[in-house]
Symmetry: C2
Subunit: 358 residues, 2 copies
DNA sequence: CTGAAAGCGCTAACAG
DNA sequence: CTGTTAGCGCTTTCAG
């Protein structure tokens, strides 16, 4: 155990400068009513000692901190991307940013966002952006903006993207390529975005006159590991799908991994589409066809919305839904009737053989 | 202005449950010495009211918070990537993570890390990871690990990557392609990593028997905007370089932008190499040849080091330097003697014309 | 212009 | 087992 750090407090400064703590406080905060000479002397001592007021003590006293919080369940590709946008949104606002992470594995526990919010709000932060919260509480007294909330829309301002249409066009892309047996690796049913993505999948299929086959739907929970299990189930079916739409990129990357381990070539033997367009999707092998969400922009808008709220300004819209779009890369290809499976292994010369069968 | 949030405090709970605040505190913290009946009653009130202790008030009192801080100047690709690794490192440790961002534009002010560290340490966080700090103080009483510190190595444990060799192999790659006039977009001279990268550039050139030409070196400050100015100066030289090595990917992306605006084709007319291998480098047009730093791993190791320190365990090594490697993508090509410039515009049919001249 | 005193929400002795 | 008291580091009236 390390020794208690000898923090330099306002008392140390006051003692050394021969004034009261109240005076030091005034100097630090640039309040009026301090003689120029005193001010200078105190300032010198502050510099000497390298004194810096404790954010915590200060915010406990004055319920204004000029800090906004971004609460995330974990720091994964999606939230990391969002943070870049959030940083852009806060620039020049005079506010500072604190990101609080529940630490990943805590996220099985529902309602983490409420816990962290109440823990911090009113003391450390003036307002918060909640990233993919499972529950958005009854509108709290403190300004809160939710990004991609799990339970649809409530009283709190919200930023999300068009999950329904994104899923539709992703599925449609696969249909256009001639695929008919299209698997779906679902997200988490408690999340609104996840439900909408599944709905988009179903809608597109229905519109094409294809009946939903329950055995082609497996839950991957938005996580790579679970998704690998799901993908395995799908791909070892007696009659496996020729294409899989995964509810997010991490899941799609899991599908890719399983396909490879099964000796399948993507996209020759299996087409895969993801959702999110996180940077990792480009790095995937092969680069993933996916649905683009303007994640950074979502982060930026959420922060800007929060800043308006904090300033007491009316906000343009309660709920912002940003458009999604399809990004075609190399994980999708036209459906081929003949599957050149030979004893479980696949022929290597598949490329460019049978043409599309749209 | 929004009304003061009616935070539910320990007093509210105490009053409602008909006990003292001390008792509530004991219940919350699971201390011994509370009657089962009381415990249950208090617990019920806590649930009813949705009470959650203020992290701030608590940490002010008990100087242990189980929270570690990651202090960054800004949330850009590098730090965002690092956070993913940090999150992995903290998983299962029981600690929580707070990321504190100075908010970008504050970073012209040197020493932000000291300020934020003293602001938070001893009150909000038990220890910290400093990301690219400009100054690493005399070893503080509180556990601190620096990632890619700017001023070489001091008493504080450090995680970085092999900047010198990375820069060497990047430059060598360009030399191997036959380039002789190789420009350099430098970082910030106050940063150790930046100095090492410049040194690597100079070393490689010297080893190839090429004299350093000062007019081929411009400062880009690790920022895209500055780097564009630097690149513009370089590319409008009477005798411009045929290749540019940029001190980081953001700078290289700036170089790409300027090259395009000048009507140059990359890599046909200009080869560009970056440094970092952030996800953005793959997204660049064309995908950037760059030096890979294991950024996520650096974040993870930094956190693990800090955790050891916090646990009072001896650490394996004071200074960890992870290896760097070259990632060849599409922004580099062999040098061509003849530059098909025609009135400032470039012929479109450059591809595959004159062969390498290594 | 300056300082004494109160108190933010909480925990840690110590009495009762 | 429970409550009282003190005080973490700071800001804020309010007297002097």
């Amino acid at each position: 155990m390390t020794a208690t750090p000898p923090r330099i407090t306002i008392h140390d400064v006051a003692a050394r400068a021969g004034v009261s703590t109240a005076t030091v406080s005034k100097v630090v905060n640039g309040r009026y009513g301090v003689a120029a000479a005193t001010n200078e002397r105190v300032q010198r001592v502050i510099d000497e000692l390298g004194y810096e007021p404790s954010l915590v003590a200060r915010s406990l006293r004055s319920h204004r901190t000029n800090v906004i919080g971004i609460l995330v369940a974990d720091l994964e590709p999606f939230s990391a991307e969002l943070l870049k946008g959030a940083a852009r949104g806060i620039r020049g606002s005079g506010y500072e940013l604190v990101v609080y992470s529940a630490g990943g594995r805590t996220n099985d526990q529902i309602g983490w966002e409420h816990k962290y919010l109440t823990r911090l709000v009113g003391t450390l932060i003036d307002g918060a952006v909640l990233v993919t919260p499972t529950i958005v509480d009854a509108p709290s007294e403190v300004p809160v903006v939710a990004v991609d909330p799990h339970r649809g829309r409530t009283g709190t301002p919200t930023v999300d993207s068009d999950n329904l249409n994104g899923a539709r066009i992703a599925t449609q892309h696969l249909l256009d390529l001639g695929h008919r047996r299209i698997g779906f690796v679902a997200g988490r049913s408690d999340l609104e975005s996840s439900r909408l993505r599944e709905k988009g999948y179903r809608t597109a299929l229905a519109a094409a006159g294809i009946a939903i086959n329950p055995e082609l739907i497996e839950v991957g929970g938005y996580e790579q590991e679970f998704s690998e299990t799901a993908a395995h189930a799908l791909l070892t079916l007696p009659e496996p799908p020729s294409a899989i739409f995964a509810a997010n990129d991490l899941s799609a990357i899991g599908v890719l991994a399983v396909a490879h381990s099964l000796g399948m070539q993507v996209p020759a033997d299996l087409s895969v589409v993801g959702f999110d367009n996180v940077p990792e999707s480009v790095l995937a092998d092969p680069p993933l066809t996916t649905v683009n969400q303007p994640i950074q922009k979502m982060g930026q808008m959420a922060v800007e919305l929060l800043l308006s709220l904090l300033a007491g300004q009316p906000i343009a819209a309660e709920h912002l839904t940003l458009p999604t779009s399809l990004v075609v890369r190399q994980s999708t290809a036209p459906f081929r009737t003949v599957k050149p499976r030979r004893g479980g292994r696949l022929a290597r010369s598949a490329k460019g053989r049978s043409p599309a069968k749209a």
